[in-house]
């Protein structure tokens, strides 16, 4: 199997002619994914932006076998396809799900849980644009605190909870491989995709995917936000590999939150104390992450 890397990406395109907004992070990640996995890949995309922009009569933007799943059913459809492929004795077909944060963290969570439990060989990729974009920017459980959406117009939600931790949820299923990645770090993302496709069992990738339309940022800010979200410590790059959690990039100090927040209209209403609360939340997350790393690397089971 050829290793996946930026250099090894073929010129062939398998996601072109889609109707995504200019600068859409999700569509860029999907384009990379299919370039990397190639024409044998079978992909399942639930209701959401990527299916809305990819399957448009009379043209199909996807150059591989692709299927739209019911909103809540990505995991179930993936398991079914993987089971058929296994039954037919085929070994060279990557079965990939590509779902939004709403489809993953909210409505499709039980289906994902079932799929992770069944241990079929699938790669589930959640492109996280932190809201229900396709239906008009409604808040999801992956929307960060303080972000304005059409259902949380002031950025204050009725729920005090923070962004749902999908990586820990996936890892808690005891699956072999799960990781976070960002559109700002393509080499890191492709390395993780390469690892995921070699795993004999389910793997889960949670990828940061800015949405200029929903976030109110410039169309050319997508990749820069994909880097500043990491340097500010808001999106740790992590890898869960057979029972151990690895922090891929642990900054000694975090970049000021404003470098990430200021270019986005969705955070414009934030008061100083709310930004401090965000920073405090981030610091707690990192303390817990470092503890998790120590715990799993020292564990006798690992």
């Amino acid at each position: 199997m050829k290793k996946i890397s930026i250099k090894m990406l073929p010129d062939d395109e398998y996601f072109v002619g889609h109707k995504g907004c200019g600068g859409c992070g999700g569509s860029l990640i999907l384009r990379w994914t299919l370039k990397a996995l190639g024409e044998r890949c079978h992909i399942v995309i639930p209701a959401g932006c990527m299916s809305a922009i990819g399957f448009i009569y009379p043209q199909m933007a996807l150059g591989v076998n692709a299927m739209i799943a019911p909103f809540a059913a990505t995991g179930a459809v993936l398991s079914g396809i993987a089971a058929v492929i296994r039954a037919k004795g085929l070994t060279d077909i990557p079965v990939v799900g590509f779902a939004g944060d709403g489809a993953t963290a909210d409505i499709g969570l039980q289906s994902l849980s079932g799929a992770l439990d069944r241990r079929e060989k699938i790669i589930y990729i959640c492109y996280d644009n932190e809201a229900y974009m396709n239906t008009g920017i409604q808040r999801s459980s992956a929307t960060p605190q303080g972000a304005r959406t059409t259902t949380s117009p002031s950025g204050q939600t009725a729920f005090a909870g923070s962004k749902k931790d999908l990586l820990r949820i996936a890892a808690a299923h005891g699956i072999p491989y799960a990781a976070t990645a960002s559109v700002g770090h393509p080499a890191d993302f492709l390395r993780k995709l390469d690892r995921a496709r070699q795993i004999d069992g389910p793997s889960f990738l949670h990828v940061f995917a800015p949405c200029p339309t929903g976030w109110g940022c410039a169309t050319d800010a997508t990749t820069e936000l994909g880097r500043s979200v990491v340097t500010t410590g808001l999106w740790p790059l992590l890898e869960w590999d057979h029972g151990k959690i690895r922090i891929n990039q642990a900054p000694h100090s975090f970049a000021p939150l404003a470098t990430y927040l200021a270019p986005q209209a969705r955070f414009r209403g934030l008061e100083a104390n709310q930004i401090e609360a965000l920073a405090a939340e981030r610091d707690r997350t990192w303390v817990a992450l470092r503890a998790w790393e120590r715990e799993t690397t020292n564990s006798v089971l690992a």
Binding site: E13, E39, Y57, Q59, T223
Partner: protein, 109 residues
Amino acid sequence: MKKPEEVSNPPCHLRPFKRSTSLAIWPNSPQADSGHLAFSNKDWRNMWPQIEWQACNSCSLCLLFCPEGAISWNANRLPIVQEDWCKGCGLCARECPKNLIAMIPQTHR
């Protein structure tokens, strides 16, 4: 409605879906395969990426970061932007390490 085959469709290293011959009659509709553009993206943009070729070292980062797959290589392995595919987002200009891509107003081309 325009039939897909009448629309200009410049190549972008596209890899159109290879339809199985047993499915040749399906679907019985003007469905275009992947890699075709039923309608140009020209009207989507107000900026256009103008690439300064002199100092370009063909690093390919502009190709990598284009969400549309709108950039391809010319015969001398220099990046060219496909008129009908580019949406003018500016990501290629942001990511060129040598700053060789200028986003200019579409009207000034």
